[in-house]
């Protein structure tokens, strides 16, 4: 019996010490990473950004809005905080709040929204971005709501498992891919088979709507100008499959006077500019970013500084 217990102890030590060391190494690399997706997460959680214009939202913001182009056009420091994961409760509680808590308050927040923003959706991929920070108290919220991370996962080694050996390898080598290089591949012939139900259940998510209202109020209180942007979407493969009328009406009811810049049909169904049904490719993103910057200036949402360049 004693021998059995000693053997078990030996096996546990030999198993878990390397696993925790591996975990430590990955966490450490992720903390320092400037690649996708840790660049944004580290910014939010470590602070030090003094951007005047910040873009929040899901991957549509991350991919479609080129902060360099917009920054040059507006003559202001811009920062793109777009991250995969489209439901607004996730974005607000884990990304926006953390950013605003630890970084300089921006002059303008551009919030990219899409019809999915009000859908309850917890993609297991989202957790990947937060793993270095998952033991922090902010993530109590996440662990309660999400199926992907249990309380046990927060303290077990190799919380990165199940996410792909390729990603873990990149973390170990400290070579996270840049988001734009990673995402702008040639146009796929396939489009996402989204199949959104018509009249999707917006009203059934009062909690998410509540978060959006709270966010609008907080921006008002802190003197931050807020603008909502509906980025381009493929007409046939996405727009026509959504209850856009319902979405507009809900948005209007929720955010009231906040300006909404609607680019949903900017490229209609012109495949040339789409990566797939909801994301643009590189040429599409450039055109859209120029257009967005131009409109922000023209509508006087934010005043251009002297360093503004010609669009």
């Amino acid at each position: 019996m004693k021998r059995f217990l000693l053997d078990i102890l030996l096996v546990l030590v030999l198993s878990f010490v390397p696993l925790y060391l591996l975990q430590w190494k990955i966490d450490n690399n992720a903390y320092k990473s400037h690649g996708w997706p840790y660049h944004s997460v580290n910014t939010a959680f470590q602070g030090g950004i003094d951007a005047e214009v910040v873009f929040f939202g899901s991957s549509i913001v991350q991919i479609d809005m080129d902060s360099d182009i917009i920054s040059k056009a507006l003559g202001k420091k811009c920062f793109n905080m777009g991250m995969s994961g489209y439901s607004f409760d996730y974005q607000y509680n884990l990304i926006i709040k953390s950013y605003l808590k630890r970084n300089k308050k921006p002059e303008l927040i551009v919030l990219g929204v899409s019809p999915q923003a009000f859908l309850e959706h917890w993609n297991p991929d989202f957790v990947y971005s937060f793993l270095p920070y998952i033991s922090r108290p902010e993530f109590d919220f996440y662990c309660e709501l999400s199926k992907d991370v249990t309380q046990m996962d927060r303290y077990l080694p190799t919380k990165y498992s199940g996410l792909g050996i390729g990603r873990i390898w990149l973390l170990l080598k400290n070579r996270q891919p840049s988001s734009r290089e990673d995402c702008f591949t040639p146009m796929h012939k396939d489009t996402y088979n989204v199949n959104f139900p018509k009249n999707y259940p917006l009203e059934k998510n009062p909690e998410i709507i509540g978060y959006l209202k709270e966010f609008v109020q907080n921006c008002k209180r802190d003197g931050i100008q807020l603008v909502m942007v509906l980025p381009p979407m493929h007409k046939r493969d996405f727009y026509d499959q959504c209850d856009m009328e319902g979405f507009y009406s809900l948005l209007k009811k929720t955010v009231g006077e906040v300006p909404l810049l609607d680019y949903s049909l900017l490229f209609e169904k012109n495949d040339e500019y789409f990566y797939e049904s909801t994301h643009l490719n590189s040429p599409g993103a450039k055109i859209f970013s120029h257009k967005l910057a131009q409109d922000i200036l023209e509508l006087g949402i934010v005043g251009a500084t002297d360093t503004k360049q010609e669009i």
Binding site: F4, D7, S15, T158, S161, I165
Partner: protein
Amino acid sequence: MIFNSLEYAIFLPVVFLIYWKILNRNLFLQNLFIVAVSYFFYGWWNWKFLILIAFTSLCSFLTGIIIDRFRFRHTLIKWIGASNILINISILALFKYYDFFVKSFAEKFLDGNTEGLLLNIILPVGISFYTFQALSYGIDVYREKIKATRNIVEFFAFVSFFPQLVAGPIERATNLLPQFQKRRTFDLALAQDGIRQILWGLFKKIAVADGCAVVVNEVFASYQTQSGSSLFIAIILFTIQIYGDFSGYSDIAIGSSKLFGVRLMRNFNYPYFSRDIAELWRRWHISLTTWFRDYVYIPLGGSRGSKARVIRNTLIIFTISGMWHGANWTFICWGLFNALLFIPLIILGKNRRFRDTVASGKLFPSPVEALRIIQTFLLFALAFILFRSPTIYDAWNYFIGLFHWETFTFIYKFFDISRANILAFVIGFMFLVEWLQREREHGLSLSFTKRKWLKILVEVVMIWLIFLFRARETGEFIYFQF
């Protein structure tokens, strides 16, 4: 409490230490402790249903005593035995099948109106397993295969022994009860083997089955819009998932029992290396198939008599087996579909052709054997469309979808390629290890070596693999619902 949970990771060592350190010297206390922790284990899910297990156990216990006491009063013991079967089957029917039959009746005769007729009661976890186990005891005592026990504690320990309480293996009193009748002493080799079997079971569940489940759930949830190739991949993955899930559960159950000095019967014998459906069914869920063989098939006449009679008996067995899995026409049709795959072998007299291990003593199977293995696997997978679909209508549409024009185009959008690689690796690893170990009890059986460092290395590597390749979402075992 489920095996792949933190609760069980705490529960098992605590119970193990108390069992061997404190209660080592007293059989009665060992058994009493087994009953107490087993009831705690089950009550963790829902303590109210403990009454049901206790009632089922008590009925079979008293039946055994009465049959033994009045052995020569044939009519009386027949009635007592039949009453015990009736009571147990009635409880099972009430909880598991009542609503199903009422719904089916209402659809046929009452225009689907079930108002006020349905009970909507929760299905107690493991009811089909422990009911069958308790029933087998009564029948075995009646058949004089075993002497009735008069020790209620050891009998309750036999019915409720926690490793196999909720999803089997469905034990026979002839195997398990005698083990509760003598004091267990700690067997180092058995306990070490048990640990390795638990690790192998966890790998199959957490890495293989749960990894497959991500894709399978996604495809089955939207099968109408998936290409034929996606549907094909999903049903193959489901066939692997259910094996990883259920055989993984069985390995953990058998391994956990070994820690307590108890040997449970084998439940899976590498079924996916079978060369025909008959062989596969001899290797799949062995405790259930042999239960049906001994208590239903043989009393019906078994393989004796004309071929027509054997076919009839086979159809009955597969239909009941399908029904046992769940109150849904899909399960019944799944059973019948398997019967249809089985019957040609009976007609040709080839249902007992393969009774040995494939390619025994060789590293590779012959091309013919390999083709037979693949063919058997694909046929078995096809049947699982019925098992996994919520309705017959869905199963039919899924089946039609398989032959859509896109079947042979590879449109693959379930998950990113790095996760596809992981899934391919864990599945490949599982099959490779099991192929190499196919003549041993389980994937990590190291009975061929005495080298301690090798055993420790295998255990360490297995823990690494479980942690590195575990699926992000882990769920309950599929067979809990039965």
